[in-house]
């Protein structure tokens, strides 16, 4: 490492600093608590923009790396770094957090300090997950992040909030605990928790038996599939989304779900390419079932927030499909769609929250004809819907289009056609919901006098809409930065797969199974890590 920058560390722990500052404030000083949180999250966003400056577009590897010794006895390093995949996810996180803060400005009235402290801790966890390149560190952030989300749902949620919070945390923990076992097994065979080092070893020098590789892939995949959530594992999502406060839903849909797909890209594919290849048909079919099923279920929801929640199942299905056809276009589309979904579903949840602030209900039939009393809010609502249903010129279109093109390119015509029905269905459920809420006649008298979007709400919606439009028009600015990483990832998969296949053949031939790296390799690796780590 020539010049280590501390940008990623600063980015990760700056929100924590904000949390400590918050704790110093008096609990009833609501105004300054809100302001301080907003300032922290805005500075965090500005800091994260520096990533764009430091990011080398042509480089497909990890950048802005930081390596330090942490727990030498277990060969655990503090290793941070980003690439074309995580770069924008970090930006997405830092972009959505100020919006989440703003949308909770008036709607959170009790335990204000704790709420905003939780939000900032959550931001720390999310940024950390995307930057961590050490499996231990990754797991740490991955789990730590659950706690603030758990409290956000459990304390400030609505309805059956305790049930939803418990369901959320137990589902995720169950998934991740098996991932922990796989991580430990990986450590046993490789002697390190360092992701780039393990990647390097798997593509030359370390062979994993097929059975082991498959089990590890499944363990990782289960954790991520629950998080995404992939079709049969999605049942925690509607509850958690619906009962969470608006800020929680925005973060949950906007960022937390992406961690699942991010994990697939970061771990499942490069580490276990052969297993990923063989599992791809099953995963893709589950993803497509998710697309269609999510859309159909969304259509019949009577609760607006639940409807939006189910759109996530459908949209994330697209992302998973895009990942598991192993085609550069589809993969870029998938990454792009992750960002799109974050922004547009975030916007939809923000609108839901604004409606809830006014009427304290999510029942669709309680609304109707809202375009008359609040034209501005409804205009933005429509805009978010259009973005989510992938209208050309807006962001969603680019992502879905690239995924579908990529799937077609990989000769999976049936998959592509089924997935395309999801795009059509999304138009149905979103526009229908919009129609029932904003158009038609006003049925409930209260709705006639509802105030339109306030300045604060307009600012939130404008910020989201500008990004939606920007991402729809200037998509190359984003995809350009992903190119190198996507190609490097697919290349990594190829070399790893071919090396592993070769080693299996020789193993079968010689009937010897040595899964441990030789001492020489371990020594070499530790030397290279030593070099990276600062004294």
């Amino acid at each position: 490492m020539q010049n280590q920058s501390y940008l990623l560390t600063v980015l990760t722990f700056f929100p924590l600093l904000g949390t400590f500052a918050l704790l110093l404030l008096r609990g009833d000083d609501h105004v300054w608590i809100r302001r301080l949180t907003l300032i922290t999250s805005v500075i965090e966003f500005i800091l994260s923009l520096l990533l764009l400056r430091g990011f080398d577009i042509g480089n497909g590897g990890y950048q802005l790396e930081e390596v330090h010794h942490w727990i030498p006895n277990l060969h655990i390093h503090y290793h941070m770094g980003i690439d074309g995949i995580s770069l924008f996810l970090v930006l997405l996180t830092t972009f959505l957090t100020p919006l989440a803060v703003l949308c909770s400005w008036n709607s959170i009235q009790d335990h204000v300090k704790e709420f905003f402290a939780m939000l900032l801790v959550l931001e720390m966890g999310m940024v950390g997950v995307f930057c961590a390149l050490d499996l231990f560190l990754f797991f740490l952030f991955w789990e730590v992040m659950l706690i603030p989300m758990y409290f956000l749902i459990g304390i400030w949620g609505h309805g059956r909030k305790i049930y939803a919070a418990l369901k959320f945390i137990l589902y995720t923990m169950f998934g991740s605990i098996l991932m922990l076992v796989a991580i430990l097994w990986l450590y046993r065979v490789s002697g390190t928790f360092d992701l780039p080092a393990i990647q390097g070893m798997l593509s030359s020098g370390l062979s994993l038996p097929w059975g082991t590789q498959l089990l590890m892939f499944l363990a990782f995949m289960l954790a991520f599939a629950i998080k995404v959530p992939l079709f049969p594992l999605h049942t925690w999502l509607p509850d958690a989304h619906t009962e969470a406060p608006t800020a929680g839903s925005v973060i949950l849909a906007g960022v937390l779900l992406k961690m699942g797909t991010y994990g697939m890209l970061r771990f499942c594919l490069p580490l276990f390419p052969e297993a990923a290849h063989r599992a791809a048909p099953i995963v893709a079919v589950l993803a497509i079932i998710g697309i269609v099923y999510g859309a159909l279920v969304a259509m019949v929801q009577v609760d607006l927030k639940r409807l939006v929640a189910y759109t996530s199942v459908s949209h994330l299905g697209f992302v998973v499909l895009g990942i598991f056809v192993f085609n550069p276009t589809a993969m870029e589309g998938a990454i792009y769609q992750m960002l799109n979904h974050g922004v547009s579903t975030g916007a939809l949840f923000l609108v839901c929250g604004m409606l809830y602030d006014r009427r304290h209900t999510y029942e669709i039939k309680e609304y109707g004809g809202l375009a008359k009393p609040m034209p501005i809010l409804c205009a933005f609502f429509l805009f978010a819907c259009l973005s989510s249903l992938a209208l050309p010129m807006l962001n969603g279109f680019i992502g879905e289009f690239m995924i579908l093109i990529g799937v077609f390119d990989s000769q999976h015509f049936a998959w592509a056609s089924w997935a395309a029905t999801g795009a059509i269905l999304s138009a149905v459920y979103l526009l229908w919901a919009y129609q029932r809420i904003a158009l038609e006649r006003i049925t409930v008298a209260k709705n006639e006098t509802l105030p339109d979007a306030s300045a604060r709400e307009r600012f939130i919606l404008i910020a989201a809409s500008v990004v939606i439009l920007f991402m729809g028009i200037f998509s190359p600015m984003f995809t350009h930065r992903m190119d190198a990483t996507t190609n490097a990832l697919l290349e990594q998969m190829r070399t790893t797969a071919s090396y592993q296949a070769q080693s299996w053949q020789t193993q079968v031939a010689s009937r010897t199974s040595s899964t441990k790296p030789t001492t020489h390799e371990v020594a070499m690796r530790s030397v290279s890590l030593e070099r990276q780590a600062r004294p």
């Binding site: 727990i71 030498p72 335990h111 740490l140 730590v144 305790i162 137990l170 098996l178 922990l180 076992v181």
Partner: protein, 480 residues
């Protein structure tokens, strides 16, 4: 013939503890009523002195009294844990004893004697010495468990603990006798050589089994855990804190010496016994804890489950396994002690507030206490960045290293099941509305310091575990 003076250095902590214990007993009758608290401070000074005297042990490693005891890093590590547990428990007892009206000097003296017994256990290099240590610590804790002499539950706990504990130590003694019969020695290294030379016959296996019964009782390994919930629930809470951490650490230490040192060549025989016991311990602890509504009882079952996780590392039967056991014991002591001290504080007079429902809304009423308790619970649950996670991580890693994948899978699924009941308490503290009249009892400096230290320990072992881990590894290496 006096033993060489180095031998005194090698049992310096026990000498200091016993001296202070006797001092407390002697002075106590002359202390005017209402001033008994000063005895507590004297005992606390005793633990500090014992801590300081570890230094003598450290600079004089080797075996003492012609090989009855060993002063090695391993012994030091366990000494450190049990003395720290005693010190913090004494700090946490002051207010408790006051409001229970049992502020007496002998309470503190008994804690010191029990700790001395645990110290002997940790250093024992021979089965009869181990038995002596076991008896010293057990008898003191039997009395301590019944120290609330007017409370029926406390009496029950004491009697139950005494009867079952006597049986267990008797089993241990039988095992010792049989082992002696088979190998003509009670010294660990001699037993080891005998097994290496002659293999393990039926007599030895039965002996080992009986020893396992005796020690399994102390570490609460299934199926010898039956007494735990009742005893832990009935004993005065600060005593429960000691019971859950101290004897367990000392018994695990002697178990390591017996199983790895003396019966190291018979590991193929005891491996499956430990494996099965680990699985049973975890499952019984966790499943039974789910249905508890009394927090003290819940934590008692949780301590059974944690014994199971330690057994997972124990089953690894490797140097890393020993290090993991030690690290886990340290982490476990910090968080469990903290959790029980919180119970002692919140429980109030006559331990009336121990139900989960009593914790409703604690997060609003006493945010710092609730935050502290959540930290301990999350650590027990195994959330990263806490001591509990590192302990589990290290222990699972040691087991995986020996290819015990299925054991680790069972353990990890158990830890998810466990998270349910820990979260139940957190749910009550933060998500439920406070539904009862509540007057927070004042928190005085000693309890505050004890809680602060345990909380800091929990965080420290979770974030910067390397130094303690290194000690644990050195300790494991010092066994040979």
């Amino acid at each position: 013939m006096f033993p060489p003076v180095q031998d005194l250095y090698r049992i310096a902590p026990e000498i200091v503890l016993c001296l202070f214990g006797m001092l407390v007993m002697l002075i106590d009758p002359f202390v005017p009523a209402g001033r008994q608290r000063s005895m507590g401070w004297l005992a606390f000074a005793g633990t500090l002195g014992a801590f300081a005297s570890l230094r003598w042990m450290f600079v004089n490693p080797g075996s003492a009294y012609s090989g009855l005891l060993r002063a090695d890093t391993f012994s030091l590590f366990v000494h450190g844990i049990v003395i720290a547990v005693a010190a913090l428990a004494i700090l946490g007892s002051f207010d408790y004893l006051d409001h229970e009206g049992i502020q007496r000097g002998e309470y503190y003296a008994l804690i010191l004697f029990a700790t001395a017994g645990m110290g002997i256990l940790a250093g024992a290099n021979e089965l009869v010495t181990a038995f002596v240590g076991l008896e010293i610590s057990s008898i003191s804790t039997y009395i301590l468990a019944g120290f609330r002499r007017n409370a029926l539950k406390s009496n029950e706990a004491s009697l139950k603990y005494f009867l079952l504990g006597s049986f267990a130590t008797a089993f241990f003694l039988y095992g010792t006798a049989l082992t002696y019969g088979a190998t003509r020695s009670t010294r660990f290294e001699v037993i080891d050589q005998a097994i290496a030379a002659n293999g393990s016959g039926a007599l030895l296996i039965i002996g080992l089994g009986l020893i396992f019964v005796g020690l399994g009782f102390k570490v609460v390994a299934a199926p010898f855990q039956i007494y735990t919930p009742d005893v832990y629930e009935g004993a005065p809470t600060p005593v429960t804190a000691v019971l859950a951490c101290g004897p367990k650490a000392a018994a695990f230490a002697v178990m390591v010496r017996v199983f790895y040192g003396a019966f190291g060549h018979a590991s193929h025989i005891w491996f499956w016994a430990i494996w099965v016991s680990a699985v049973l311990t975890m499952c019984i602890g966790n499943f039974a804890a789910i249905v508890q509504s009394n927090v003290k009882r819940l934590l008692a079952y949780s301590s059974i489950a944690h014994a199971g996780y330690i057994l997972v590392a124990f089953a690894a039967a490797s140097e890393i396994g020993v290090a993991a056991v030690l690290f886990y014991l340290a982490a476990y002591a910090a968080m469990t002690l903290g959790a029980f001290l919180i119970l002692a504080y919140v429980g109030g007079t006559e331990e009336r507030r121990l139900d989960i429902a009593d914790y409703a809304g604690l997060g609003t009423r006493q945010p710092w206490v609730a935050a502290c308790f959540s930290l301990f619970l999350f650590s027990l649950l195994g959330l990263p960045a806490t001591a509990g996670f590192l302990g589990k991580f290290y222990s699972f890693s040691a087991a995986i290293d020996q290819r015990l994948v299925w054991l680790v899978v069972i353990a990890s699924i158990n830890s998810v099941i466990g998270s349910y009941y820990y979260l139940k308490v957190v749910v009550a503290m933060y998500f439920w509305e406070p539904n009862k009249e509540w007057t927070p009892s004042p928190m005085h400096a000693p309890m505050f310091i004890a809680l602060l230290l345990t909380a800091l320990g929990t965080i420290y072992l979770g974030i910067l575990p390397d130094r303690v881990m290194q000690w644990a590894i050195t300790s494991a290496q010092s066994l040979h």
